[in-house]
Amino acid sequence: MSGLDFKTIWEENRRYAITAFILFFLYCAAIDILPRSYLKTTLSAPVYKTASLLGLEQRFHTFSPEPPRRNSRIYAYIKAADGSTSIWNYPDVERLGNLQRKIRAPRFRILATRNLRKDSILWTDFARYVARENNKSASSPPADITFYKHTEAIPELNPTTGQLKSKQNKEEFVFHYKVTSGDLPG
């Protein structure tokens, strides 16, 4: 087929191709409104692969279904090979200066609050990272890491009276990892 033919075919059909793309785009955007359900999964199936490939997956759910009702902080007990223990705290970027905080904190926050949940597949990698970061003594490298989440409940606001009601804080075990020699460089 010559180049000219191809051009003609494109000219004749481009509006159909664009229309197909518009319908695809609108369909992807519309599916996002649906709540997580079997229906949503079924309707997403035909477009999921292409939408993922093009980066058209919609994820605009900030403070949905509602803002968090607690402030949480991840920390870990690190047991070294010689039996000594130390505590590691998740980077406290909230204490950075205003500009740095504006720039760096959101990504730390998203990882910790949205994606480092109890059953997350990210925990093993995260534990290995903490092990690498705390591998300061060649004779006694980290051997065992246990992660906890400290949660401070935000006092509940009564929508009628405006009164605040305190709630209990809690400590929660989230993940345990046994460090292997392959996890540490050198």
Binding site: P65, P68, D125, I154, G162
Partner: protein, 317 residues
């Protein structure tokens, strides 16, 4: 009875009737500038988030992102140098996209590299990152360089190649009328408008939690340490102001996908949206999302307004 011909004609008018791409092109300038800042901000923690020595391994990142996700870093190992070079290329492409030099290629590079970085570590993505990759794709597909760009300036001033360029122009369906008025099919800009509305549709309908409807949501939001940038005195200490800010957030989000389509109300809806995002910009820490959303409103302005504004800035077609 449904008149198929009327529907077809309406469809053609909405998506294909040539119109000035001025808003879309000015958005391109703002988008490139914001993306440059956003990418530069990632340089602080570049190795931590993206390199093979970072928190998340490539194998886990692939699993987390899903089997259909595209990333340069799934094809070549993201060493520190590779990630740094990719980010510098992305920053350069943001600049060339903003000034409209090799616009389509620049937009393609921006889309591909932004998507690659996003998929390399989806565990740190925010709404701004998602909006960026969708916007970039629409800038690739639409006539983003048709006005206020180095490309359009070159086209106008290379009279020697006038004829051949006219062919190229016809190919992308750009119609040059009298007085060098550039007209293009607006479907990409319309899709961007739909996308902006979709952000608010999701924002509104997914907020089904009790605190949004009983008016206390902004109290909880402003007491979540990880989100707060600056806690405004008084506003979030009084029940009535908390309820006012909560319900007005819902009302503004609702109007940004409903009333926005009514031409007469549009300026007021956009002003309300602007107030919402400026408020969030100073009080909540959402990185560059607020700037992106504010810039995206340009796509809802009339071409005449944008052209007048660009004329005042002496921007050349």
């Amino acid at each position: 009875m449904i008149d198929a011909e009327k529907i077809r004609s309406l469809w053609q008018r909405i998506w294909f009737e040539p119109t000035s791409p001025a808003p879309f092109c000015i958005y391109r300038i703002a988008f490139g500038a914001i993306l440059l800042l956003a990418t530069a901000s990632k340089l602080f923690d570049i190795n931590l988030w993206y390199s093979s020595n970072g928190i998340i391994s490539v194998a886990t990142a692939k699993q987390f992102a899903g089997p259909n996700s595209l990333s340069l870093f799934f094809l070549i190992e993201p060493t520190s140098q590779v990630v740094l070079i990719s980010m510098l290329v992305l920053m350069l492409a943001s600049v060339t996209l903003s000034i409209g030099y090799k616009t389509r290629l620049s937009a393609f590079l921006v889309w591909f590299l932004a998507l690659s970085l996003n998929n390399r570590n989806q565990a740190i993505l925010n709404c701004g990152d998602i909006f960026t990759q969708i916007s970039a794709l629409l800038l690739v597909l639409g006539p983003a360089g048709a006005m206020y760009s180095v490309d359009s300036w070159n086209k106008k001033h290379s009279s020697a190649n006038r004829e051949s360029e006219r062919d190229a122009t016809d190919e992308i369906k750009t119609i040059q009328g009298d007085n060098d008025k550039v007209l293009c099919e607006p479907w990409a800009q319309r899709l961007l408008q739909v996308q902006i509305a979709a952000v608010y549709v999701a924002g509104f309908f997914w907020k089904y939690g009790a605190s949004w409807w009983n008016g206390t949501a902004t109290y909880y939001a402003m007491n979540t340490k990880a989100y707060v940038l600056w806690k405004t005195p008084y506003i979030f200490d009084q029940l009535w102001t908390i309820q006012l800010t909560t319900w007005s957030t819902l009302a503004i989000e609702f109007s940004l996908f409903t009333l926005i389509w009514i031409r007469e109300l549009r300026p007021w809806v956009l002003l309300a949206g602007l107030a919402l995002h400026i408020g969030l910009l100073f009080t909540m820490n959402f990185a560059f999302l607020q700037l992106l959303m504010i810039a995206s409103y340009i796509n809802f302005l009339s071409p005449a307004t944008v052209e007048k504004f660009a004329g005042k800035l002496r921007l050349q077609i």
